[in-house]
Every structure is written in C-alpha cells, then in structure tokens.
C-alpha cells in the first residue's frame, strides 16, 4: 500500500506542473498577440492620422485686424507731435500803425502734430482696405526764448532800457499770429503725422495679410 501511494504521487506531480506551464504559456502568448494587435492597430491609426494630416493639412491661424487692435497702436502718444524751429522777426509799429518803430528778431520753437485720439479709423474687410483720417494739425506749444532777442531800431525814442519785456510780449504775439496763417509748417507736420501713422500700422498689417491696403489721409 505504501509502495502504491508513492508511485501515484510521482506521476501526478509532473502532470499538474505541465498543465500549469501550458496555461501560463497560453496566457503569455495570448497577451503577446493582444499587445501586438493593439500596437499594429495603434500604428495604423497613427499612420492614418499622419496621412490624413499630410493630405488635409491644418487650418491656418485666423487673425482678424480689428479697429480695437488698430486703435491700441496709437497709444504711443509721444509720436503724435514733433518740434520745429521757428526763428522770426516781429515788427513794432508806431501810433499811426504803419511806421515801424523797431524790429525784433527772436528764436522760437513750435510743437505741432495731431491728437491720436481724434483719428478716424475705418476697416473695409471685404475690400481689405483700411482708411485712417487724420485730424487737423494742432500747435500744442509755442515758445520764444527771451534770451535771444535782437533789435534794429528805426525810431530812436524806442531804444529804451525797459524795451525787453514789451518786445518779448510782441514776439510771443507775433509767433501766435504767424502760426494761424502758417501753411508750410502745417503741411510738413501733416506729412510727418501721416508717415508715423503709416509706420505704426502698415508693417505688421501687411505682414499678416499683404492683400490689405492702407490709406492715411
């Protein structure tokens, strides 16, 4: 009995081991096949995706040029004006209003330009056209340097020591009156303002969409 029992244990053990190994192998093979299939499927999808991307490409970035984006550009206020040299001669007239008592030459400076806040911007999207209308040129500052006055006297009685203050006021008045009629300076200031407005808008707008045209008037 004892011998039989021993014999039966020896044949039962390898059989159980083989079954266990077989199941393990089958499980590993199944796992391997499943993984391989998954990888192939994934690769296939990825390939399909890449192919589709290559054929259809990708939508370009949509950039819209808006009035707000253009207005924001004009926050750089220091570019709106420029300084101009204005040296001139003022005339002091006698009581008759025709005869000149003396001439006084002065050195002046004028700050002229536009108010960027008054720009009229319109975008015509269909025509791809931007129109920017400039406001009138404004003389924002005009100064006479009191230390630069020089005189030519025609009436000797005018040649007084206290003439300086009177002459300085005359020069300030003269500069103001001249600027009211000054066309060349206004024209030049407008050209400079046009160039700055164009410089603030045109380079980047053209780079985003070269079809756009810009008029600054």
């Amino acid at each position: 009995m004892i011998f039989y029992k021993n014999n039966s244990d020896k044949t039962e053990k390898p059989r159980k081991g083989r079954i266990f190994l077989f199941v393990l192998c089958a499980a590993l093979i199944a796992f391997g096949i499943w993984s391989a299939k998954n990888t192939i499927l994934h690769k296939k999808d990825s390939l399909k995706e890449n192919l589709s991307q290559a054929v259809t490409g990708e939508e370009g970035k949509v950039t819209t040029i808006t009035k707000a984006s253009l207005e924001k550009v004009f926050e750089i206020n220091e570019l709106s004006t420029a300084d101009y040299i204005y040296n001139a001669v003022a005339r002091a007239y006698g009581e008759d209003g025709a005869s000149v008592k003396y001439y006084v030459a002065y050195e002046g400076k004028v700050k002229a330009g536009i108010d960027f806040g008054k720009l009229d911007i319109s975008i015509h999207e269909e025509e791809k056209h931007i129109t920017i209308k400039l406001p009138h040129i404004e003389f924002q500052e005009q100064t006479v340097d009191p230390g630069t006055l020089k005189y030519i006297f025609k009436d000797r009685d005018s040649q007084r020591e206290d003439i300086h203050q009177e002459a300085f006021e005359l020069c300030e008045k003269d500069l103001k009156e001249r600027l009211l009629q000054e066309k060349d300076l206004k024209e030049q200031a407008k050209k400079n303002a046009q160039a700055v407005v164009q410089g603030l808008v045109e380079p980047w707008v053209k780079q985003i969409d070269s079809a756009y045209s810009i008029t600054v008037e």
Binding site: K61, Y84, I85, D184
Partner: protein, 217 residues
Amino acid sequence: MSMKQMITKILVLALLCGLFTPFWGCGKDKTQTEIPIETEESQRQLKAPSPDISQIRSICELATLECYYHNVAISTKEKGQGLSHIGEKDREFWIEYSGVAKLGINMAKVSMEIQNKDIVITIPKAQLLGLSDYTFSPDSYISEDDGINKNPITPENQTQAVAWAQEDIRQQFSKDDAMLMRAQERAKSLIENYIQQLSEIWETDYQITWVYEDNAS
C-alpha cells in the same frame, strides 16, 4: 527534444513575445509623436512670420522726420576802408527764410539677428540726412539805416548771408543731440511697435536687444 525543453522554449518565446512586443510598440509610438508635430508652442513658432528686416528698414524710412524750419539770417556788412568809404557805418541786415531738414536713421546701417525669441537690432544714431532748398519769406529783408555815406548791401551780400545761415542751421541740426535722440527714439518706437504687434498676434514673446552703432563706423 524532451517535453521539458520544449516547454521551456515555448515559455521563453512566449515571454519574449508578451514582454517585448508592447514595449517595442510603445517605443515606436514615442518616436513618432516626437518627430514633426511636437508641441503647439513650437508649431506656432514655425508658422509665425518673424520680424522682417525689409519692414524694419521701411519703418526707418517712415520715421525720417522732415523738419520744417523758419530762420533768420543775421549778418553785418562792415564799413569799408579808404577815402571813398568815409562816413559809412556797419550795417546789420536780416533775411527771413524757411526750409526743410531731414533727420533720421541711415537704413543701410540697420541690421537684425533673430535667434528663437531673441532679436538683436543694430541701429545707428540719427543724423541730418539733408537740407532742402530754402525759400524767402515775404518782406524778408530788413536792414539798419545807412550812414551819411552809403554802405549798400548787394544781392551777393544777401546770398552769402543766407549761405552762412544755412551752414549754421546744418551745424545746429547736426549737433542738436536732443533732437537727434528724439529722431532715433521715433524709429525705435515704431520698430518696437511692429515687433510688439507681431508678438501679440502670434503669441510669441519676442525680446529686443538694441545695439547702437556709431555713424562713423
């Protein structure tokens, strides 16, 4: 081949299949995602147009300040010497005239280097680029009274006086550091605005480094 050896081989094969196939698949997948598509950020950088030197040069042209000036040429004709000039006196005479001076950056000396988001712009100092022809103002000529003996101021004297005054204006603009600095700042502001707009549109944070070149070099 014994059963045990066969089982061991199958086991090893299954192990290899099961273990390496998924990793091989993952490995391939990883390299695929790394290659061209990369991140959204880098894709944006690839597509975003970078600042263009030709645009920067055209900005410099637009930044050129056409500076109208009004000036007074102040000259003195000294009394002559010799018998025929007895009784003459020195005579001061003034002539009012106006013109246009061009102040700006020499475009040819502007350069730019871009490395990713870093932009190095080399810019020369602003300089006087030229003076236009001048025009005389109405009633532009004023002179001191003559002495007993005439000391006439000839047209040649007047032309010479204005030529000297023009040279003085040239020197004045060439040496007016404040005005030249403003002209350079004007160009810089316009360039910075251009790059800023591109930065905002393409969501790329460009960093500008300015290098100032001496005009003499």
